[in-house]
Symmetry: C2
Amino acid sequence: MTTVLAVSNQKGGVGKTTTVVNVAAFAGLAGKRVLVIDNDPQANATSVFAAGQGTGTVYGSQEPVATSEEGVWICPATADLIDDERRLSKQDAGRFALRRRIDALRPSFDLIIIDCPPTLNYLPMNALLAADHLLLPVQTEYFALEGLTQLLAFLEDLRVDSGAQCDLLGVVLTMFDQRHPLSHQVAAEITKHLGQRVFTTPIPRDVALAAAPSHGQSIVRYDPLSPGALAYAVVTKEILRGLK
Amino acid sequence: MTTVLAVSNQKGGVGKTTTVVNVAAFAGLAGKRVLVIDNDPQANATSVFAAGQGTGTVYGSQEPVATSEEGVWICPATADLIDDERRLSKQDAGRFALRRRIDALRPSFDLIIIDCPPTLNYLPMNALLAADHLLLPVQTEYFALEGLTQLLAFLEDLRVDSGAQCDLLGVVLTMFDQRHPLSHQVAAEITKHLGQRVFTTPIPRDVALAAAPSHGQSIVRYDPLSPGALAYAVVTKEILRGLK
Ligand SMILES: Nc1ncnc2c1ncn2[C@@H]1O[C@H](COP(=O)(O)OP(=O)(O)OP(=O)(O)O)[C@@H](O)[C@H]1O
Ligand SMILES: Nc1ncnc2c1ncn2[C@@H]1O[C@H](COP(=O)(O)OP(=O)(O)OP(=O)(O)O)[C@@H](O)[C@H]1O
Ligand SMILES: [Mg+2]
Ligand SMILES: [Mg+2]
């Protein structure tokens, strides 16, 4: 039984790509066959797992390629996703293009995880219509709170208008800094609104998580015992347990 | 002589809004009449300077409102900017809507500074076609390097295809952490490519900059002697000197 996760949040820089890369790597380490779909024209996930290998996009002829992380493949991206988005927004069934593509890939993988750009446009729309669940990274900082209602309303509209099956799997709190009251205040505010749906382990701010991508590695391969790695290991376990 | 700055970068979370809010506040403190334009559907700048006051958008009936920062007004935003963007993308001269609006506002201000969403869609396009210069915040982390070429190519296309006057005023390095080699490596890489155009003072990572917005304040009012405040004071001085 394959599970498809969309990792989306229109707030920028909250740790979407970092969550996709490291949850994928830990799930692969745990024996799952994992496919990462880079659905962001910035192609940051591609620069970690398949630098220079993106010739097309998931909406075109791009096939999955193996990565150097155990059990992880990626469907790389290029900036051409910007043109794909413009084209899809003008087609009747353009919002279901990614779902059609992913339905054909499901049989080969246990987990498919989609990285999204920081918008509420056609690319995240495609991801939410293709996914079984939304995994929502939220930075523990003030601006991060603002957009949550917008995003959950966007998802609800897709469920009502376009028959999306996707529901909120959970919130991953990111860049949590024990020393700063702001982190605790924002985490408490999010837990007040979303309670059970917040994964218990916040991801700490850890420079190893920011350094790993410059080596083309997940945190598993770059520094597996770092605080960031240990937190992503626990969160991945909670995610996989939640998918049973 | 009014100057219009667009603050844009499709990489998310690099400090666009933080730069808009704090450069505006220091320029106001220095005696300039400053207008902030919130051109981002997330409306983060609005939540700092005019929480709850956005009823329309700059593309509709929204007029500038005073803020509690000396010399600073804001044209607030709502999520309706998403609808504006869809509508503008279908109109022939939709890309010049913001320029028309700002040209009518220029006589009342010395400096107009536009906050943009983390995309290369119609809203940043409008800002770059309305602005005299691009102020480019770049986080000193690995992913931040990837998108620079895309953004500068986007600006160049607008100059060639749409007659944009906007040029790159300079790069503000943000979230610089003295202790981490990654910050130094990325800063060196950016300076290698853009040399003279990088403002000499990087903005340090400083929790006061992240805390100030939760009090509805710029860093000038929240913690004017913090490392983040001192750096934004120096960068604002460099920006204003560059505009002469
Ligand atoms: N827990 C963490 N500790 C320290 N740095 C982090 C952490 N998580 C992410 N980062 C760094 O913060 C920056 C933003 O993270 P990332 O790029 O994953 O966010 P994003 O939501 O994918 O951004 P975008 O909105 O542009 O797609 C990156 O430089 C990343 O390496
Ligand atoms: N120098 C800094 N030190 C510490 N925190 C910072 C700094 N600059 C910005 N921040 C915080 O980092 C987060 C991202 O900054 P900000 O929201 O200004 O970026 P942005 O580029 O406007 O994001 P978006 O792409 O979503 O519009 C915010 O929580 C902000 O308070
Ligand atoms: Mg990303
Ligand atoms: Mg912003």
